[in-house]
């Protein structure tokens, strides 16, 4: 079996050479799990921003000087920032400079 870095080449890749490539060759299973987790989390934030009106289309209560809907959107921005920071810390070891 040919190998790229630490991991053996996926058999699926050899069977379906033109199949969709979700991960680059050589990505470890742990890194794949972490990437998938953050992908799901960020997708949820994007959907929550797009569909905020399902949960937070209210003007009151006014929190931190903002109507509730605006506060909800700003809170999502803050969560997004924290998630991205965590992802950066997780991935920082494997990044190429």
């Amino acid at each position: 079996v040919k190998s790229f870095g630490e991991c053996p080449v996926d058999d699926e890749r050899e069977k379906k050479p033109y199949g969709v490539v979700f991960f680059r060759p050589g990505v470890s299973p742990r890194a794949k799990k972490i990437k998938l987790f953050f992908f799901a989390a960020m997708s949820l934030i994007i959907l929550a921003q797009g569909f905020y009106w399902l949960f937070a289309n209210f003007a009151k209560p006014i929190i931190f000087g903002m109507p509730f809907s605006m506060f909800f959107i700003v809170a999502l921005v803050a969560i997004q920032f924290v998630l991205l920071l965590l992802l950066y810390l997780f991935e920082s070891k494997e990044m190429k400079d």
Binding site: F4, P17, Y18, G19, V20, V21, F22, R24, P25, F39, M42, I45, I46, Q49, G50, F51, Y52, W53, N57, F58, A59, K60, I62, G65, M66, P67, S69, M70, I73, V74, L76, V77, Q80, F81, L84, L85, L87, Y88, E91, S92, M95, K96, D97
Partner: protein, 485 residues
């Protein structure tokens, strides 16, 4: 005589900008790689400010408060999409950086043309990007002309104001290239964020005693103004699809796309993405200024909602010096987008259009010189559109924005789907662009108010997949150059 002090402040700021822009790139080599992507050496500070500077344009500084004033809750979409816009870059930003470094790309179309082995695609993308850029720069120039007119009390006519802004931008883009733009953007962004927070909160506290009191009064007077949905300025479907299409298409803008090539490393790129949402928070006080106008100014008194920000500041009797700083900040918002897009459009025109038709390619130095020449030409075209009417032309070009988003399926195919073929990419892109424009110009009815760009994206993706599966796959070794990065 206050207008003299106001104008002095603005011109002093322009002098600083000119100095930074011209000397930012001093002593660097004259290659096209240096002029366009800063020799791929930008660190996190330059990247952060350059992205922030080019995104927070006259639209966010003058347009966002106008939306808050006139459309209320619909304005929150600006906050949502600007904070999320860079998130998808986590997936393909590092790949772009790697591929750009490996194959020496400096423009967006070079990547697509190489992967799909198509000069047609390069020319198509170049045309769409340049057309979209003309419109964008025209709007910024109009913003500049309007600011000088206001600052001088009408003594500097609109055409002269737009011309001053145009000349300043052209000089430092011509001399300093992308490095000059990056240094200027640090200056622009600091001024914009500073004035937004200090003066935005000042207006709200002075007029209402604080934001809580302001919003309580707005809710009492106009209970649905801060909401979206039936009976408001934006439907649910419109809101959701505009956020989704903006997030998905944000990084397809050629000037942002090309910034990935300028980053020093993947670490720098990811640091920039992490820090980016902090720029979105800058919009909060800017939106407050628009909301502050709701109970203070009637629409007929204002004329156009876009004038709400300067109107609010002039109505609370600030000193001419402070007014000068505010107007310089508004001007910086217009210039920071104008410089990036002018630079990008000239690069695209030379690299992805002219070079395609030449048998003998330019050397790096020659290409850099041609890009500089087209910086001037492109600026002149945009200035002419801004001055000699052109309103209908601007309206005609509106569909170009949604067309840019149609590059997304191609990008995903480049990095994630080896089976995508040249025919699939071209037919998908063209079909998506046509659908977007037909919906945008209401040739195709849009009863559910679903964003035209997202309708184009869906059709584009389906067509790309079907046509690719029906045509012969491209050479595996070639396509794996992009999927195995």
């Amino acid at each position: 005589m206050g207008w003299i002090l106001t104008l002095t402040v603005i011109f002093a700021y322009l002098f600083i900008v000119l100095f930074l822009g011209c000397f930012g790139g001093k002593g660097r080599e004259k290659s096209v790689e240096e002029y366009v992507v800063g020799s791929r050496s930008f660190g996190p500070v330059l990247m952060y400010f350059m992205l922030g500077g080019s995104i927070f344009s006259a639209f966010s500084y003058l347009g966002a408060p106008a939306w808050a004033y006139s459309k209320g809750g619909a304005a929150f979409y600006i906050l949502a999409y600007l904070s999320l816009g860079m998130v998808p870059w986590w997936l393909w930003g590092p790949l772009l950086s790697r591929v750009g470094r490996k194959y020496n790309y400096v423009s967006q179309a070079q990547l697509f043309a190489d992967r799909f082995q198509s000069k047609t695609l390069s020319v198509l993308i170049a045309i769409v990007c340049v057309i979209a850029s003309v419109q964008y720069v025209t709007l910024q120039m109009k913003g500049g002309g309007y600011i000088f007119e206001l600052a001088s009390g009408g003594r500097i006519p609109f055409w002269a104001g737009a011309l001053i802004g145009y000349l300043i931008v052209i000089v430092y883009v011509f001399v300093g290239g992308v490095r000059g733009i990056a240094w200027v953007d640090i200056c622009h962004s600091t001024l914009k964020v500073g004035t937004a927070w200090v003066l935005g909160l000042y207006v709200v506290f002075k007029l209402y005693g604080g934001p809580t009191n302001m919003f309580a009064k707005i809710v009492a007077a106009k209970p649905t103004h801060l909401l979206i949905g039936p009976g408001t300025a934006m439907s649910y479907a419109e809101y959701t699809t505009i956020v989704l299409v903006s997030v998905l298409g944000f990084t397809m803008w050629p000037h942002l796309f090309m910034r990935a090539y300028a980053a020093k490393s993947e670490r720098v790129l990811k640091k920039t993405i992490v820090l980016y949402p902090t720029f979105a928070i800058f919009l909060v006080p800017i939106l407050f200024i628009g909301f502050a106008g709701i109970l203070r100014v009637t629409p007929d008194k204002l004329g156009s909602a876009d004038k709400i920000l300067p109107y609010m500041f002039t109505s609370i009797s600030l000193s001419p010096f402070v007014v000068g700083i505010i107007l310089a900040a508004a001007l910086s918002a217009a210039m920071s987008t104008q410089d990036s897009i002018t630079h990008t459009a000239a690069t695209i025109f030379v690299q992805d259009f002219l070079e395609i038709f030449r048998k003998k390619k330019h050397t790096g130095k020659e290409a850099a010189m041609w890009i500089r020449i087209f910086v001037i030409v492109f600026g002149l075209v945009a200035y002419s559109v801004a001055i000699f009417g052109g309103q209908s032309l601007v309206e005609l070009l509106l569909g170009a924005f949604g067309t840019i988003v149609q590059l997304l399926p191609l990008l995903l195919a480049v990095f994630y789907w080896p089976r995508a073929t040249r025919a699939g990419a071209i037919v998908g892109f063209v079909t998506g662009a046509i659908v977007n424009n037909l919906v945008a110009f209401q040739v195709i009815p849009n009863p559910w108010h679903i964003n035209a760009g997202i309708q184009g994206l869906i059709v584009n993706t389906v067509v790309l997949v079907i046509v690719s599966l029906l045509t012969k796959p491209m050479d595996l070794q070639h396509v794996r150059r992009f999927t195995d990065l």
